[in-house]
Amino acid sequence: MTNWLLSIDSSAGTTVAVLEGGVQRAEINIPDNMSHAESIAAAIANALATAGIKANQVSSVAVGRGPAPFTGLRVGIASAMMFAEGAGAKLFGVVSLDAIAKSALEDSALLQSLSETTPLLITADARRSEVYWALYSGLTKAGAPIRIDGPGVIKPAALEVLMQERGLSPIITSLPVSATKLGQVFEAQLIDGTADADVTALYLRSPDAVPTPAKKVTG
């Protein structure tokens, strides 16, 4: 039976892909990072139409868990969750930075230049002058990126210090997330036995609210 996968990531812009047995059949990218609620469902519908399949043929859904700023990430996860519910598909979560690592590690020269002191450092914009980051040492046999640290959120300067302290001189890459790569990470994790049904959002930050006492109104 053909294995159709719907892959969704909303950690930055919107990216949606349909894969058949790990092979891309459609991918739709909408770089705008402020319009997830408007665009994801139509992107899913278009990707399915391009791949020439109906929703109920999808057997698995993989969704990027971030890390990402709050609002857009939630829309992607909510969409994946409900699509899986309606299509009767299995739902899996993938760390979005792993998908970027997958893209970067397709460069075989880059892959071969990695060493214990030269890992791959993936960063992504976390807003508020911070970045999300994770370190990778290479790929598993099945092709899943091997994450050795992270994901975390940090100021760029502090990240530099951290790398120095550890004696690391990483290869730094920041590429856009591709839903196809995210789907392929999932497929590889499935073979490795590390595929994860956890789709909890990786916000990495607490809500900003702090409890405050009631204000005085008289001077």
């Binding site: 899913i44 519908a45 929703a55 709050f70 829309v75 909510a78 702090v210 409890p211 405050t212």
Partner: protein, 504 residues
């Protein structure tokens, strides 16, 4: 043409007449009286008889085993002199309704291959010919058509099953309705998570929606005894409300619609509060004034038509009434949410002890802001009053403060709502929103409406607070009115005006 017959459930005493018609209708293969008696009395069957001039002129029976989602038409017969007047259809429509009520999702029947009149009736009800049984009717050896009606798909008189999703504030609501009938209304609230902040924190609410979505949906489907495949349309509140919170529901609802290949309707949250009355009465009496009061809204609407003519008469220019309750509760050292706490604290207090200000109620305000509200000044007045005592180190009567504050809020709300009824000559007032839980609001509204000859509608509390059922109910109204579904591109609109009942 009005029917001159009456249809009721068959009784054992109908058996002789039924058997007479059975033999007349099915000369060669009639059931025995024993079999017919067992059928009539069985727990898993529904048998109907039609009488005209005290004569039995038709009967029909349905089988629906409790554990199954399938139902079967066991038999149907109409007396020869009563044929061609729609009695067969009437019996079928009623049995279809009974089968749905019993939880069936499809209905099967057999019909003689040489009976095009009956086949035509069943086709017109939505049945499809799915199989043929060779030589089923003996001794003539006539084939039987197996016909099936899938309830989720169509048929005459079919009411749409609509699933509604609500996520505009701190309640994740999933409701399911069939036409104007409530099937499920499940609400998951993140209220407790907001308690230590003294008010709804948008980010916490949005995070909670994402976590509550799937379990709330599953519980609603279980309560309605339906699967997602039975749903005909999805409705979602896309505003007004908290943007980040709304987006979770909007994203979820759209993905559900795409995965099920069903239409989606983006509906106005506030109009949903008005439309919910349909679930209790089967219809809504219009025109009506609606007073919607919650932690996020204080709005006075004039509704002439639920789908086409909703006018915002006024709203709060600062705090919502529910917000004022929360803030004053903090001033009085009471917990969140403030409404019920103040209700409790006010018990035994004198509502006339302190004359707190009524916002926008001075003569000049009653011209310019006749239907608008303001609670910010009231909140400050209470805080100031309390602080004066605290600064002096004196005790004050908390019950009197709570009762007087509550009276000020409720007095303004009801006064302005009743004014609107009188000004527009609309003798109806509908309340909605979480603050309706406040006992004094209900009491005063009841009193003043009675005094002014206004019919007051207060839906059940779980339909007054934010819920998915009201969204589903409004969605169902749009479906039944033949409205075009919304596209997939609509977004969440935190300030969606009430005039936009459906976002295209």
């Amino acid at each position: 043409m009005t029917e001159s017959w009456s249809i009721r459930t068959a009784l054992e005493s109908d058996l002789p007449e039924i058997m007479a018609l059975e033999h007349e209708s099915f000369a060669t293969d009639a059931w025995s009286i024993e079999n017919m008696r067992l059928e009539l009395l069985a727990h898993h069957t529904v048998y109907l008889v039609a009488h005209e001039n005290e004569q039995l002129i038709g009967y029909a029976g349905l089988s629906k085993v409790p554990a199954s989602t399938q139902s079967d038409i066991q038999t149907i017969a109409v007396s020869p002199n009563a044929r061609g007047r729609g009695l067969g259809r009437a019996l079928m429509v009623q049995l279809i309704g009974d089968a749905r009520r019993l939880g069936a999702t499809e209905m099967f029947l057999e019909v003689r291959a040489d009976n095009p009149v009956a086949q035509g009736l069943y086709s017109s009800l939505g049945f499809e010919h799915i199989d043929t049984r060779k030589s089923y009717y003996q001794p003539e050896g006539i084939d039987a058509w197996i016909m099936r009606l899938e309830f989720a798909r169509g048929g005459v008189g079919r009411e749409p099953i609509v699933l509604g999703i609500e996520s505009s504030c701190d309640e994740t609501g999933v409701g399911i309705v069939r036409g104007t009938t409530l099937l499920a209304n499940v609400i998951s609230s993140s209220m407790e998570e907001h308690a230590r902040f003294g008010g709804v924190v948008p980010e916490i609410a949005a995070r909670a929606h994402l976590e509550a979505l799937q379990p709330t949906l599953r519980e609603a489907l279980a309560k309605a005894n339906l699967s997602l495949q039975d749903i005909d349309a999805i409705a979602v509140a896309n505003g007004p409300g908290l943007g980040g919170a709304l987006m979770v529901g909007v994203g979820a609802a759209k993905a559900l619609a795409v995965s099920l290949d069903k239409p989606i309707y983006a509906v106005n949250h506030l109009v949903g509060h008005v439309g919910v009355d349909i679930l209790e009465r089967g219809k809504i009496e219009l025109p009506t004034i609606a007073l919607l009061v919650s932690g996020g809204h204080t709005s006075l609407l004039l509704v002439r038509d639920l789908l086409d003519d909703v006018e915002l008469l006024g709203e709060t220019i600062d705090d919502a009434a529910g917000e004022a309750f929360d803030k004053v509760a903090r001033v009085l050292g009471l917990k969140y949410p403030g409404g019920p706490e103040i209700d409790r604290a006010a018990a035994g207090g004198d509502p006339k002890a302190i004359r707190f200000p009524r916002g926008l109620s001075l003569p000049k305000d009653m011209e310019k802001n006749r239907y608008n509200f303001s609670f910010s000044g009231l909140k400050t007045a209470v805080a100031r009053w309390v602080e004066v005592f605290e600064n002096k180190g004196e005790e004050f009567n908390k019950a009197d403060v709570a009762a007087s504050f509550r009276e000020a809020v409720v007095d303004v709300l009801v006064t302005k709502a009743v004014n609107a009824c009188n000004d527009f000559g609309v003798p109806r007032l509908l309340l909605g929103g979480g603050v309706v839980a406040n006992s004094r609001l209900r009491e005063l509204a009841t009193e003043r409406c009675a005094a002014n000859g206004i019919e007051l509608r207060i839906p059940a509390l779980n339909l007054c607070t934010d819920n998915g059922a009201m969204i589903a109910a409004l969605g169902a109204q749009l479906v039944m009115a033949g409205r075009k579904p919304s596209g997939l591109e609509f977004g969440a609109d935190s300030t969606l005006p009430v005039t936009t009942v459906q976002t295209p």
